[in-house]
Each structure stands twice: as C-alpha cells, then as structure tokens.
Symmetry: C2
Subunit: 436 residues, 2 copies
Amino acid sequence: MKDHIGVGIIGFGTVGMGTVRILKENRELIHERTGVYLNVRKIADLDIETDRGISVDPAILTRDANALIADPGVDVVVELIGGYEPAATFIKEALKQGKYVVTANKALLATRGWELFEAAHENGANIAFEASVGGGIPILRSVREGLCANHLQSIHGILNGTANYILTQMSDAGMDFEEALKEAQRKGYAEADPSFDVDGIDAAHKIAILSTMAFGVRVPFDAISVRGIRDIRQLDVLHAHELGLVIKLLAVGQWQDGELEIRVHPVMIPESHMLAKVKGVYNAIHVIGDFVGSTLYYGKGAGMLPTGSAVVSDIISIARQLVRENTYDIPPLGYPLPAFRDAVIRDASKVRGAYYLRMKTVDRPGVLSRISGILGENGISLASVIQKGEGEEPVAIVMVTHETTRRQIDEALKTIDQLDVVMEPTLALHIELDLK
Amino acid sequence: MKDHIGVGIIGFGTVGMGTVRILKENRELIHERTGVYLNVRKIADLDIETDRGISVDPAILTRDANALIADPGVDVVVELIGGYEPAATFIKEALKQGKYVVTANKALLATRGWELFEAAHENGANIAFEASVGGGIPILRSVREGLCANHLQSIHGILNGTANYILTQMSDAGMDFEEALKEAQRKGYAEADPSFDVDGIDAAHKIAILSTMAFGVRVPFDAISVRGIRDIRQLDVLHAHELGLVIKLLAVGQWQDGELEIRVHPVMIPESHMLAKVKGVYNAIHVIGDFVGSTLYYGKGAGMLPTGSAVVSDIISIARQLVRENTYDIPPLGYPLPAFRDAVIRDASKVRGAYYLRMKTVDRPGVLSRISGILGENGISLASVIQKGEGEEPVAIVMVTHETTRRQIDEALKTIDQLDVVMEPTLALHIELDLK
C-alpha cells in the first residue's frame, strides 16, 4: 500500500495557510489514523514573497498553478483561491488529468458547479467540498452519508457568521446595524465591502449547494429569493424580543407541495428554538428527515482553522481511497450525476407565514385605520398592533399579521408605501412560528 | 456492478421494525442514491408470530439466527437483539464468515467491543455501529471522518434521552423526580426498571464508545466514574435556576494533563450554553477539536425510526463498498486496530470544579459555622450560602464552593454527613462554569 500522498495547494491565503498548518501540525496524527503521510508537494500563489508566519520550504512555492496540477507527485489538487476564474479552469484541468480536487469555493460551486461535477464524472475523478458550507461543521458529510436513509424535507441554516455576528450584537449589545457592522469589520469578521455577507448572497451560495445535495435536484442559483439584513433596526430587534422572537438571517430549503422553496432572508423565530441560541460567528444547520426527524449541526462557519479542518478532512477521505486504489463509492453530491433533474422552484411570493410589519408614519388620526383597511382589502388580518413614540414624528407602527403569503404582503405594501402619511418603506419580516 | 445486497436482521423488536420499515419505504430513494437495492433477505427472532404492523413475507421470518448468518444471500448481518449473549456469538460468527455487521448494541460494544473489533480485523470484515450512540445523530461518522483532521480534546454529551426528559420535566414543569420518571414510563421513554437510564449506565456505554473513537485509546468500561440522577430534587433544580444554571446528566470524556477524564454524572451548566437548551428526549454532543474548535450535534437519541435511520445509513455505506468490491478504507474506530493503547484514566477524585452542596440539617444555631468549618479544614472555600425554610426542620442549606476537587468534597462530606445535626446525605453537584 502506498503510504505517501502528494497535496498541491492553489491559493496561499487564509484558508490555504490554515490547511498547511493543520497538515503540518497534525501530520503524525493523520498518519496514525490512516497509515498515510500527506505531503504538501507544491503551493501555488501569485504572492510567494510575503512571510505568512508558517515555515514552508521555499522550493515548493510557485506562481505556476498549471505546473502544480501537472506535477506527477501531486495526487490531490486543493483549490483555495476562490472566485470564478481562474479557479474553474484550474479545477477542470486537474479533473481532466484524473486528479482528485478539494475546494472551498462556494460561489463557484453554487453558480457553475455543474461544469465541475460533470468534468469529474467524465474523467473518473472526484471533487470534495466540505469546506464550502458551514466551515468546520461536517454538514455535507452528515447530509450525504449520515442521513442518507432519509428523504430530507427541510433545511434551515444560519450559514453566514458575519451576518449572525451583526444580528447578535444588535440583539445582545443593543447596537444598531451600522455600529455592529463596523465592529465586525474591526474584528476581521466582515470585509470592507460587506455585501456578500449582509445582503445574503454568501448564504444563498451555501443553501444552493446544501439543497442540491440534500434533495437530489439541480438548483438554479438565480431562482433563489434573497434578502439581506441592512434594513433591520434596533427597534425591530426590541420588538422581536417583546414578542418572544429573535431575528436571524436564515437560509431555507424545503419541499412544499412538490416544489422546492428556497430562500435567504431575515426571519423572526421563537427564542426557544435551538437556532435562536446560535450566537456570534457560529453557524448551525437544522435538517429534518422523514425518519430521523430533527437534527442540528453547529460550529464555526468560517475562519482559517475551522475551514482548514474541513479541507483536510476531505483530503484524508481521498487519501484513504487512493492508497487502496478504491474507486470513489460515494458521488460528490450523494446521488449519481445522471439522477439529477431540475428542481421546480416555488415562487417566493407563495411563501406562507405570519408577518411582522414596521412602518414609519406621520402622527395624524386615522393613519392606523387607513393602513389596516388596505391590509384587510388584501386579505390580511392582524394579530396585534403596537404604536410607539406618540407625539413625535415619525411614529413607529408595528403590526403582526395572521398567516398570509408574501404576495399579499407585497401587494398591500405597494399601496401602503405610496400613502402620503407613510414616511419610509415598510419593513416586512417573515415570522416562522411553526419551525420544528 | 452488483445491484442487489442481501440484508439479514437478527432481532425484530423496536429498532428492527424501524429498520425494516425504512428499508421498505425508502427502497427507491436508496436505489436512486446508490444504484443498489437493499433486500431484506431474512429476519430472525424468537417471536415470529406477533403481528408488528409491518407487512413482511412470512417466508423470510426464522427463529434460526445461525441459518440467517450462513445464508449465502445475506451480505450484511444486522444485530438488533441487544444484550451480551447470544448477540456477541452471532456477531463473531458473522464476522468469521467474512460478512459485514451492523449493530446498535452499545452495552456489548462498550464492555466487550474489543472481541468484536478483533474478530472483524482478523477476518477482513467490518463492523459498523452508528446507531449505538446518539440514535439518529450521525455523531460517530462526524467524529471519525468529519473531524479526522483534529486532535479531539473533549466531548460533553447529553447521551440519554430518558434522563434528559426527566430533568427537563423537573426543570420546566416543576415535577419531582418520581413524578417525572412515572410520566416517562407512561410515555414509553423509560423502562419498568429504569436503572440503565437514570443511573447513568447507558450514557457510560455511549461515552466509552465515543471516547474510544475520538481519542484513539482503549477505555476500560469499569474505570468510568458513573453517578445517576435519582438524588436530584425539585429544590436543586430551583436553586440551579436561581444561579443561572441548568442540571443535565452529562457524559464527559476529555484530556487532562495526558490522562483521560471520563465520567457520567449530573452537572450544573450555564443556562446560556447550547447543551442547556437540549430538552426532552433529545441528545446532543459537544465536541472540541484543536483546529475546528467547538462543534455540536443534536437530534433524537433513541426511538424506532431515528435509530433505524442510523442503522440503515450504515447498511448503505457498506453496500456502496460491497458492490464496487472496494476494501473498507475507514477502520470502524477511525484508527487501525494496532494503533490502540490503553488510556490512562484520570482518577475521578481529581476532577476539578466548583460544587453545589445541598444539605438538610436541624434548625439549630451554629450548624452553619460547624459545616463551613469542616469545609475550610478540607481546603474548600465558599462562594455563596443560601439557607431556606427557617423555622421548619429539616432546614435546607445550599452552598456553592469555589473551585476544588471531588476528593476534597468527598473527604469533607464524610465528616459532615456524620454530624448529628445533618439529617440526610448531602448532595454534591459539579458545576461546569468553564464549559466552552
């Protein structure tokens, strides 16, 4: 049995450094577990000068990713540069050469994953991507293998640590959105341009990958309904608390009447739910299967070392097979590629739920009755109304509706937000009361 | 490629029925995922008359487990009778015949697992046992494969759903232990003889298996320190709540100075910890690795269908390999058998922590000073003292100590409990304040 496996790493940024550090520091442990030494044979990056604080033989550093891929000593190619190009080209080239690929590239997998899966399939190679969703949490493995006896029914995930950190600071430390975002940036949790995180795009990439695997269907990325958390204010967090609820940026994939409902948006959930307890940069994923019932997976969703842990777990799985010359027995998405059909995506306007509405209006008699009249005309009935800040303008009016659809809410708000007494666009948040 | 795998099930009780039901109802799904049909070829049980509400061809029912094992059409033998014998003999016989075995038998694995692992190793067969810990939660797979890049440092688990149900009812519904136990029995969560569950033995079996796999060491079952929850009273739950704590039956395995600390006992943990939120019959396991940090896995820890889900996930993993004639690339315990050495088990008296002490004394001046004097003589200092029920006897005295060791507590209580003013044995509960 072969007892050395050569690893080539493309991208020596944060996750690349974490991966190299783990392969180095836990080299003996991995050998003890697998009988195999994982050798970092080459690292490719445009910047091979900066001292990253990890001692690496300069001879293995290269600017030439293609030479790394072609190196016969590299058995596994690890793509950690992110983005679409040249990442996709590198991955496809490695697969074409029959090499196994490990990647953390959620954006690429979510939007152009099919190119990669097909390239793997055609070349008898394979691609592993545990690190692309949930950082160090072994969620893909759990869904693909641990729950494989089940029809999966729903996934509710807190999949973006930055957004969760901001919402946690708003709710536990009383910060406003901008303040919490600045703190997240200061701590290195948020980028200078935070839009991927706070606008829900990163979480959408992850729920696309997770839903593809869990439900065995192709998910067209553009069909995902995505809203971010920029409109959430301190008063919304406070109102949520008064209602026994917490605001979380949830990524949801679930079957409804044979259609796949797939959405990312800030949602109010009961304080007592396990997902409500997930604080700071942690992620958690709640998965329901027809026989296993509710399960939940929790851990750090990002960061050099948790993400590196997931990358290395994939390298180890591959190494265990390569040294035995086993064929890959579990397809990357859990199902064989030809089994996939396009999901019928449920129109986001059909999503049912109670809604939290927060309006800012002038302080004039009759405003409330005009607004509730319009809601009524749209078939929306109210469970409760709170009016705050009487005497000062704008007045905040908060309403909680009975169950309705997003379509009815949007229709009603189209009219309400055009009233001259309404001073800014109304915020409407879905309330998930029946979260299992 | 072979496209049918024959499954033989020994034991047609609760988990057996769940397993058969899942194999039947999700037959097409499993085929879609794996390209393989899993056929229940034979079911062996002493009782083949009782109608279990699952339609099964009577021709596959047998009282002869040995014939089932020897049947050339049976590729995978699933042992679900529980207990030590004849379960161990059946498993070893199947392994001797080179068959793969799936079992949920935690008592057998925890106490005599080595016989089975060696039999598997010697015969080039394998044994899978996801269902033995955490019911439907894919915890063994996560530890063995998902976290395999990490040195694991600690496991804190709520591993017994019955005990957790009782503690939840005591804390959320104000029940006393006996009342909650009776309710658990009425609901089918607890056996007529509940000692395995409430005395911590079942949780000890599970932490033994989990620690063996996570830490790569042999765990002598008798070395585990085990205490149950029978002594917990309603007033303890109330005091815990006043202190911002919750009482949970925790199973702990963790490294301390190169020794393995392994214990099952009721512990007070901060209300804000994820483990504190685990209610009713749910289980959860908090695992810390050197690179991944904190992770947590949550789900139903028992029951026909969640446990069946884990059994079937093991059968599927085996089937995926058998049809490709792959050799098993991941050893059952994550490490190859020869890598295992005996763990040095840390003496339970060394366990450090703050302690909650609840005493019942006569109502007489000077009692408190005598008791705190004895604690002081044993090097134990007090963080707070609460005295309740003045005027009536016995008086409840509750003390919270600063950090100390179990040895000091036990020494002090040996003296205190012999005082004539102390009316019943003192309850001492570990407080895990630094739970990560």
